[in-house]
């Protein structure tokens, strides 16, 4: 197992204490638990709090988007595992500034059920108004008629950005929720995996791929995709992802932002090679790119592979996308 770590069991607490020590002006933990991370200035009075949560091993997702113009807090689970109800509850309570809290996270069973329980607890014990928006952007994970069953992948970053901007501007809980839903209604993603990653506590890959194989549509925890086959060219891979995305949402004549995301090991160089093809496909379909986001936004540790996310824009979404946002892992200035 080619990892730089000490005791596998301490992987998450060690990385979180390193992270909190690295960014004390930006982040703090609450409830005496390093898994409960909020902005250093939380709670911000009068501002809607936005909370996410999910497993570790996806940096910058999830906690990397806790920052100004982004999220207020994050409950952090073990690698690829849900945080607990208590952790979600503590984060929710710590970011509540009197204007309510939005729970905005990926559509994974454990997270969904635990956030529901945490929202109940916050309502019961602290009278905090909590709204919930699930991210379910991965078109490979279910057909359109079961879109509610899809898993959440890199598209969540756009949801964080849009909701975070609205909240920073003073939007109400209903407005922040509506903008998050509006963003997600216009967002679709799909990925490809070239090699697996290794869970520190397990020590071996949870799936294998032959030396010349790839899996189109695979999820960010190695969930099955739509087709396993021989590794194809960058153009063919890009086409496979875009074909499915563009069949799911009508982009003709639209203005979009597109995110090319490395799952970890795949270098940025390869994302730019894919971007060439994205542009020529878009050109043919009359789609224009308002602004691309190319980098590592939602990873699976050292997995090789990439995903494409498209968000169809209108004036509201453009303005919110342009709003300043900064965290120790993301600065929107880089993409403007």
């Amino acid at each position: 197992m080619k990892k730089i770590l000490n005791h596998p069991e301490n992987y998450v607490p060690e990385l979180l204490s390193g992270l909190l020590a690295a960014h004390p002006h930006r982040l703090k933990s609450v409830a005496g638990d390093v898994h409960c991370i909020v902005r250093a200035d939380a709670p911000r009075q009068g501002k809607v709090g936005i909370v996410t949560g999910g497993g570790s091993g996806h940096l910058p997702v999830f906690l990397g988007y806790v920052g100004a113009g982004l999220l207020d807090g994050c409950a952090v689970g073990d690698v690829f595992a849900s945080p607990t109800v208590d952790q979600m509850y503590h984060v929710t309570k710590a970011v509540h500034g009197g204007a309510g809290v939005l729970h905005l996270f990926g559509n994974y069973g454990g997270d969904v059920m635990n956030f529901a329980a945490a929202a109940d607890q916050a309502a019961m014990e602290d009278s905090i108004e909590v709204a919930t928006v699930l991210v379910a952007d991965d078109v490979a994970s279910a057909p359109p008629e079961r879109a509610d069953r899809r898993r959440g992948v890199a598209g969540m970053v756009y949801a964080f950005k849009i909701a975070g901007a609205r909240a920073e501007q003073g939007g109400t809980l209903a407005e922040v929720k509506a903008d998050a839903e509006h963003a997600l209604a216009n967002t679709r993603s799909m990925g490809v995996a070239l090699s697996p990653c290794i869970l520190p506590q397990v020590g071996k890959p949870t799936f294998t791929l032959g030396d010349d194989e790839m899996e189109i549509g695979m999820g960010i925890h190695g969930e099955p995709g739509t087709a396993r086959g021989k590794l194809e060219s960058a153009d063919a891979i890009t086409d496979a992802l875009l074909d499915r995305i563009m069949a799911d949402i009508d982009l003709s004549g639209a203005e979009v932002t597109v995110m090319l995301n490395s799952l970890g090991a795949t270098p940025l160089e390869e994302l730019y090679i894919m971007y060439n093809r994205v542009l020529s496909r878009f050109k043919a379909a009359g789609v224009t790119v308002y602004r691309p986001y190319i980098g590592r936004f939602a990873t699976s540790m050292e997995m090789a592979g990439a995903s494409i996310t498209v968000m169809k824009l209108d004036e509201t979404l453009k303005a919110l996308l342009d709003a300043p946002a900064t965290s120790p892992f993301f600065d929107n200035g880089q993409y403007l």
């Binding site: 109800v85 069973g109 529901a116 898993r151 397990v202 949870t206 925890h221 969930e223």
Partner: protein, 212 residues
Amino acid sequence: MDKLSFEQTIAVLGAVADGLIASKDELTALDAALGDGDLGRTVERGFKAISDALQTNEEADLGKLLFKLGKVFGDAAASSFGALFGTALRKGGMALKGKTELTAADIADGMQAALDALIELGKAKIGDKTMLDAIHPAIQAIRACESTDVGACLRAAADAAQAGAEQTKTMQSMIGRASWQGERSIGQMDAGARAIALMLDAAARKVMSDGP
């Protein structure tokens, strides 16, 4: 025997915990085939926490004890199974509040309350290829059990749960991670259903080994 005493119930819970921890690799393999392969770890963490809590238990009400163990399980292993099974234990405990010993009918009542809670929380239906497909036939088997012997009825429940788990091989997964496999899920046994069958088997063995 037609009732499990308080001590016997504690011993049975301990045996279930040990049995599931011992089966973690099998559960990991089943979950890896359809999901993300963490069920063994979930079960190990959750039942280890239950074992520890049983060592230091001071609660005399079996319902309240189960309720507490539900929270312990969910906190220790916050996965889908952890959230669901933790809730099941809590709701089963609420249905058994006040009890200090259990008949077979009590067990069926607790399991029915748990099943209802699972359906409400998880939104799955019978036949969606989940642990429900082991729990549901197990309840029916206890209700149909003509003996008053708890051990015999638990044996029937365990066998029905295992038959239900086997039956999941024919189903297509409709919910949770495994549903992303679509038709590819057919042919594989659901990991959560197998976990339920293993729990009831461990319980039945423990009761039978303690004699009638």
